[in-house]
Symmetry: C2
Subunit: 198 residues, 2 copies
Amino acid sequence: MQIFGDSKSGNCLKVRWTAELLGRDFTWIEVDILQGQSRTAEFLAMNPAGQVPSVILDDGRPLAQSNAIILHLAEGSGLIPSDAYERARMLEWLFWEQYSHEPYVAVARFQVKYQGRPVAELDPKLVERGRAALQRLEDALQGSKFLVGNGLTLADVSLVAYTRMAEDGGFRLADYPRVEAWIARVEQALDIREPATA
Amino acid sequence: MQIFGDSKSGNCLKVRWTAELLGRDFTWIEVDILQGQSRTAEFLAMNPAGQVPSVILDDGRPLAQSNAIILHLAEGSGLIPSDAYERARMLEWLFWEQYSHEPYVAVARFQVKYQGRPVAELDPKLVERGRAALQRLEDALQGSKFLVGNGLTLADVSLVAYTRMAEDGGFRLADYPRVEAWIARVEQALDIREPATA
């Protein structure tokens, strides 16, 4: 499998962590989104949405959308609960991540870290919604080590990606102690070595 | 099953159409989001994200996120391809819908139809990205009757919800003739009776 990804992107790292955890062979092809490398004609032929991550599976067929890719890679593994309701709750987290977490927590980080915007000049709505997302995780982790059931699932893989980088966007993880402890737990389970913020 | 939904919301209608197509018994409980009915303490106890649709399954357990709900309801049905790659492509469309289509096509509609903003005063970026999403559908439907494989899948159910209402947000569906024909095809397959725009 070839993974086309930008190492700065939590969405791309999700795919790498999942492939590594599952022991899948892959080649990582670095695509610098800031340099427009996901908008070239060659890239768009593979993924018309012009987004990373994007993978070419071993049979040569393409697949995009981080959460769709990790769901495909993890089929039949313990990262997807075998219980139908737990599986549905995991999917609920994956869709919530893309709609109500990433557009705030990751976008704040992008604006601060890569566009040089001071934290104080972020759109207050962006900050408010990012905090609401982090608070929802904090609430969900009351009495639970992981987001769904008793073990690591793709919900944790997906949500940890940008949550662990939230301080880059000016959020204070110390305000969410259960989230902080969960990040450490998931990082250990995934053997994540890259620093969360740099 | 109880479906808590706002009839104005394409996300909610997805769930109703899927339940109807599968012949599932359900009760529809109207939740008016404009009146703040998805933000009451009672509602938040069921769905801490404060979003519709939200369902209470027959065993009393809650589930949220439109695409997670329809994936759960449709498990084992023909709405989810049995082929692993086609299933992954269907998931790719579902995540793309929530990240790259709904935030533009549905949000433009919401601002015009429910907040009274003139089409000419929409954020140009919103319009540009909505058009890009419609164009991507147009391209994907070249030579295909449905988005994935040869038959109706949840990708069609999910994407048609706001696409058929796009004119409410000032988009011209006549500019996307394959999309227009696909909308009619999916409406027929789902036996959709409510008007797309009103």
